[in-house]
Symmetry: C2
Subunit: 135 residues, 2 copies
DNA sequence: CTGCATCCCCGCCGATACTG
DNA sequence: CAGTATCGGCGGGGATGCAG
């Protein structure tokens, strides 16, 4: 039987591709958090061409609040996707850059972008048809 | 300049890989909604081997509430990832199955799973190192 | 320039109870 | 069996103001 998640006596367990994980140590969850967030993938893409300073990132993604920029950058740094280097200038400047892990992840993100654009029309059509049918 | 999103006079615009979208018609957003959700990818994987009935899905993913199962299935159906077929038995039975689009999407999800498991250890280590350094 | 703290809204999601 | 309806918590994320 192809069981995805199961509830054992004490601990919730999810089975993905035949391997069991708890909800808290599931690798897919860890990655999903870095994909599902509103700004994560945009920031990753923003760093694709090399190190970028904080204020430059803000200009690249004007819609983001600096609160979310700071927070998302910290999350991504914590997970090892990017590095943060502070230059002791006056006023200080901070540069963010993808790590090897981050570049590897960027490849996955770009595949996602490719698939999305390739199939966007189909999704929109399905959505429209569904909404018209149900009302 | 590699601008990701820009704010024009009236409408917020995001630029991904050189192409501009509004926040509401962005293809990546549409797909991200189907990836970032808590249960979407699990359900997609649950249907990998063929059509599955509602109650069978519940058994495959015991942690999910039937509220979220119903809702996520409806969302995925709306976007054209799966079909819903009702059999007029007594009591009624409903079968869910991936569409071609859904199977295509499943491939993306599986690549995500692969990348996650391959790089899980590295992420956990980075996270641990970060937490120990900062406190 | 970069970042933190605070307030607050809103949508996801869980729990529970009820229908054809 | 396969839903729907309702309530409520919790967290993501926006707006604003302050600090080094």
């Amino acid at each position: 039987m192809n069981q995805i998640t199961k509830t054992s006596a004490a601990e919730k367990v999810m089975v993905i591709c035949g391997v069991a994980y708890t909800m808290s140590n599931c690798p897919v969850r860890d990655v999903l958090d870095n994909i599902g967030g509103k700004w994560n993938t945009l920031i990753i893409q923003g760093l694709a061409d090399g190190p970028v300073r904080f204020s430059a990132l803000r200009r690249m993604i004007p819609d983001i609040s600096q609160r979310m920029l700071t927070q998302t950058l910290r999350d991504l740094q914590r997970d090892g996707f990017l590095t943060r280097t502070v230059f002791p200038t006056q006023p200080p400047s901070v540069e963010y850059a993808l790590t090897d892990l981050g570049r590897s992840f960027l490849a996955v993100v770009l595949q996602l972008v490719t698939w999305s654009t390739d199939n966007h029309a189909q999704i929109r059509d399905a959505r429209k048809a569904y909404d018209e049918a149900e009302g």
